[in-house]
């Protein structure tokens, strides 16, 4: 069958986009519209489900099926939909407050079930829509509207949470690096199972520059490292730094000082998440923060496949259900 060739514009709905000018969300929306035509999935087979928050307005702007649901609950709607309609491609759009605070429970359960959906977590480390309270990813000591003396919460790291929840695909990207972001969205869509992409997203109104160390072109090379499967973690503006595993921790080394064999080689396919977890925990300023695919393991059964396989299997074993037989089975008696 020849699918009509779609362009990014075909995925734009007729609704005006209402994020603040300069918001990082625009870039993510643009990349999504750019990537979707490359996937060859017809628009009507795609569903975007979001929770509540600035990022969660996303589905309204896509000319696909969509649902703007309840704060934190997007993965659960996706679970019901994907379990009953495995033919659909389902994207979950969420934010740091949505996925990790009010929706923390659903987030981990979607990941452990390995439902074949793609979760894009816009992390701006702040509550935007409610105007500037700290979020579960805000830094310790951060002064916000609700933390005038500084936040006393220890922040969560979405990648660590995902790994701990047995996620099969974990990646990170950022709004400012559009090429990388597009590539990550594509990788996520190709993975069978739950894909999580954390996207560093600048909220220029309430938390401007919170991740500038990673987003700004000049600072990025020194403070982030782009992961490549089977390659060492080389970074730095002169590509002269790398990461090495010493005992049970990671450290930064100068490539000139250590033999290449000593460098940590990234293995996104490693079923054992131990080293991936160490990498997830690399935080600025001590370490470069990992960008790219941290974990992508294949062969783990998906929830949607299994729930439907059980139905198929039951039909094969017992034959299709016969309602009259069901209600008439067992002990009965006749009244004449």
């Amino acid at each position: 069958m020849n699918l009509p060739v779609l362009k990014a514009a075909d995925f734009a709905s007729d609704q005006d986009v209402r994020w603040c000018p300069g918001c990082g969300d625009y870039s993510i929306l643009a990349q999504m519209k750019k990537v979707l035509p490359e996937l060859g999935v017809p628009r009507e087979k795609i569903v975007f489900i979001s929770g509540i928050g600035c990022s969660s307005r996303f589905p309204y702007y896509m000319n696909t099926y969509g649902m703007h649901s309840i704060h934190g609950r997007a993965p659960t709607f996706a679970t019901g939909l994907k379990s009953t309609r495995p033919d659909l491609m389902v994207w979950v759009i969420t934010g740091d407050g949505d996925a990790l605070s009010i929706g923390g429970n659903h987030f981990i359960h979607a990941l452990r079930r390995n439902l074949d959906v793609n979760i894009i977590l816009f992390n701006n480390r702040i509550y935007g829509l409610t105007k500037g309270q700290y979020s579960p990813t805000s830094s310790e000591g951060q002064v916000t509207k609700s933390t005038p003396m500084g936040s006393i919460d220890h922040p969560l790291n979405p990648l660590s949470v995902a790994l701990a929840a047995e996620a099969t695909f974990v990646a990170r990207s950022m709004d400012a690096n559009v090429k990388h972001l597009g590539a990550m969205l594509k990788r996520a869509s190709e993975h069978k199972g739950t894909s999580l992409v954390e996207v560093y997203q600048n909220c220029n109104v309430f938390n401007d520059g919170a991740m500038a160390y990673a987003q700004e072109r000049k600072q990025r090379p020194n403070n982030t490292v782009e992961l490549e499967h089977g390659k060492p973690l080389i970074f730095g503006e002169n590509k002269d730094k790398a990461v090495r595993l010493v005992g049970n921790h990671l450290e930064v080394v100068n490539t000139a000082d250590v033999p290449a064999d000593d460098l940590l080689i990234h293995d996104e396919k490693d079923m054992n998440p131990a080293i991936q977890m160490m990498m997830a925990r690399m935080r600025y300023p001590e370490m470069p923060e990992p960008m790219g695919v941290l974990r992508a393991v294949e062969g783990v059964a998906t929830y949607d496949d299994q729930i439907n396989d059980q139905v198929t299997e039951a039909k094969e074993k017992k034959g299709p259900g016969d309602l009259q037989k069901l209600i008439s089975a067992g002990d009965t008696w006749d009244v004449a």
Binding site: E44, V47, S69, F77, N105, V311, K318, G321, L323
Partner: protein, 626 residues
């Protein structure tokens, strides 16, 4: 097979018997009760049951808190309740005796497992001395002290089985004795033993030995002079089975799916007393049933909405506390205008309340338990068997109106059982659902356009040209786009309410048992049907001008309810809550209603309703008397 021997003693024929079997949670009373119920149903009796058990899985043994009971009435005439006063009470230990004795009628039969009445058990039951020894007991009741443990051990010993196995069989001994006393056949239970324990031949034969020994004990012991016989009831023609409420509900959902040519998705989180619906449904994957045990109540209802969006028949269920958690999502389902069923198997509240006890206190939660203006249709089954039809009703309304429908069951209906006439499924009206086809014209798709029932189209993902976005923000009429326009919000609020109100045009008028006008009208809903009906019938027989209206459709109420209420001098509303339907009726119709209310975790006794009715009814004009 010649499994059941015939008694050679006298047999007395009676129209009905109410028995309660009470023992420790570990004594197998629920099993005994279920077996007696099935056996009686198979004998053609009408039956009604009331299982009553503690919330703790292993409540401290021998204590009053650990007492588990099962009451069953079987009769040769149509009955609607498990009976008020007991004709016979079987108790396995002192705790069971002291907590249940007050319900045994004077002259009633008390059968006690004598071996359970020992010093250690008195302490656990917090009684000073052996309650069986009180002289008043022998004077008031017909007491049979039976050393069941001992006799069971003897019976089982012949099969060379250990004492440990033997001691687990004493409920089967009690069962055998009860079967003898009420002329029940052993066959159904023997079949049950074979099915259940066939894989463990020693356990099976021990149970059978105990059952037969119990029967033989009744037959041979001089103390038991006669047994009782209850003839078959005259039920309407058809094939019957015994059915429990949650089972009927599960089957009704499967039927509704089949009638509408849909697969069933059931998203839920375990909670008493709704979990058995999940256990039942998950057996029927070959019917296309997908069950999802979610991580919490919210995930359960939201997954249901997700499935509904995809075009599946979607159902979630819980009990009051879980429904409280689902409130926000139910509001979303309402504003998304997607069809689904939300089942609430009510239990005692508030908060965790009384998980295993029945109550009807979530009616107002169903009506108003969501933020904003969010009316939802409510359907309430009246008995275990009625859950089947109620599920189909609920789905029919949901799909006709594109709205979540609340199905309000309760613990009493859910765990109770009754004979159920097996319907011919081919005779049940189909539920027609149409999903709009893809549009390729230039006309933009209007996801919130409405039909004559004010329902919007159920356009499902995968359909070309109908891509649209739904959400919890207020939508513009027609397009469904986000809209903060004041007039539009008013319009959409009105439309959603009107849509639900219009259901009243299509549901049947309220039926009345008795005259449509008179002195007193008893209005009830849900699981109290049986006791209210029986009480009203009794008052009618005594010459009172009294009628009964049992409401199935609680929102919207049937069109004729207002006129009906105004046609009686007194309206009495008995409820197992503190007056929730009464509040609604008064508010809606400005008619005064008298409440008869209790929240004691138990259904109404017919006697207490009759007394309340008489107390509140307008005094009869003494036309005949001087």
């Amino acid at each position: 097979m010649t499994a059941t021997p015939k008694t050679s003693k006298d047999v007395q024929s009676v129209t009905g018997i109410t028995v309660r079997l009470a023992g420790d949670s570990g004594d197998g009373m629920q099993l005994l009760g279920t077996q007696l119920t099935n056996t009686s149903a198979l004998a053609g009796n009408d039956v009604a049951t009331f299982p009553d058990f503690p919330a703790e899985i292993r409540a401290p043994r021998g204590t009053r808190a650990g007492v588990s009971g099962f009451q069953v009435q079987f009769a040769s005439e149509e009955i609607f309740t498990p009976g008020d006063q007991l004709d016979a009470l079987v108790v396995m230990n002192p705790a069971a005796m002291v907590t249940n004795l007050s319900d045994l009628r004077k002259g009633g039969i008390l059968i006690a497992n004598e071996d359970g009445f020992i010093e250690k058990e008195f302490k656990l039951a917090k009684v000073e001395a052996n309650p069986l020894d009180a002289s008043v007991i022998e004077e008031t009741y017909r007491v049979f002290k039976v050393p069941m443990t001992e006799l069971t051990r003897l019976a089982v010993a012949e099969h060379g089985l250990s004492q440990k196995i033997a001691d687990r069989c004493k409920n089967f001994f009690a069962m055998g004795l009860v079967y003898w006393l009420f002329g029940r056949s052993l066959d159904p239970t023997l079949r049950f033993i074979e099915n259940k324990f066939g894989g463990k031949p020693d356990v099976a034969s021990a149970n059978e030995a105990a059952l037969r020994a119990g029967w033989a004990y009744g037959e041979t012991t001089e103390a038991f002079g006669e047994s009782y016989q209850v003839e078959a009831a005259e039920l309407s023609k058809g094939t019957y089975r015994n059915i429990m409420g949650n089972q009927a509900l599960a089957w009704g959902l499967i039927a509704a799916a089949e009638l509408s040519d849909k697969d069933l998705f059931y998203g839920t989180y375990p909670i008493t007393p709704a979990s058995d619906i999940l256990h039942e449904l998950t057996k029927y994957k070959n019917f296309g049933v997908r069950t999802f045990q979610a991580e919490d109540e919210i995930a359960a209802v939201c997954s249901t909405i997700g499935a509904a969006f995809g075009g599946t028949m979607a159902v979630t269920a819980s009990s009051g506390p879980g429904i409280a958690l689902k409130g926000e999502a139910m509001g979303l389902g309402m504003i998304l205008e997607l069809p689904m069923i939300v089942i609430n198997v009510q239990r005692g509240g508030p908060s965790t309340g009384l998980p295993t006890k029945t109550e009807q206190s979530d009616l107002l939660q169903s009506m108003f338990g969501r933020n904003g203006e969010s009316p939802l249709p409510i359907v309430a089954p009246r008995s275990p068997g009625d859950c089947f039809a109620a599920a189909i009703d609920a789905w029919r309304i949901a799909t006709e109106c594109m709205v979540p429908v609340i199905l309000l069951s309760d613990g009493y209906i859910a765990n109770g059982s009754e004979p159920w006439k097996i319907p011919d499924v081919s005779q049940i009206e189909k539920i027609t659902i149409t999903h709009p086809e893809g549009a390729d014209g230039d006309e933009p798709f209007m996801p919130y356009a409405r039909d004559e029932k004010l329902a919007r189209p159920w356009a499902i993902p995968g359909t070309e040209g109908l891509m649209h976005r739904v959400g919890g923000l207020e939508k513009e009429d027609g397009t469904g786009n986000v809209s903060y326009d004041p007039a539009n919000h008013q319009l959409m609020t009105d439309r959603r309410a009107e849509k639900v109100a219009m259901i009243a045009e299509r549901i049947p008028d309220q039926e009345v048992f008795g005259e449509t006008s008179g002195d007193t009208l008893v209005v009830s809903w849900g699981g109290t049907y049986g006791s209210c009906h029986t009480a009203v019938a009794q008052c009618q027989a005594e010459g009172m001008r009294i009628s009964h209206a049992h409401i199935r459709y609680l929102n919207p109420l049937p069109k004729n309810i207002g006129d009906l209420l105004r046609s009686f001098k007194t309206v009495i509303v008995p409820e197992l809550n503190m007056g929730q339907l009464r509040l609604l009726l008064r508010a809606e119709y400005l008619v005064d209603c008298i409440g008869v209310n209790k929240v004691q975790g138990k259904p109404f006794a017919v006697t207490e309703l009759v007394a309340a009715i008489k107390e509140h009814s307008v005094p009869q004009t003494k036309s005949k008397a001087g």
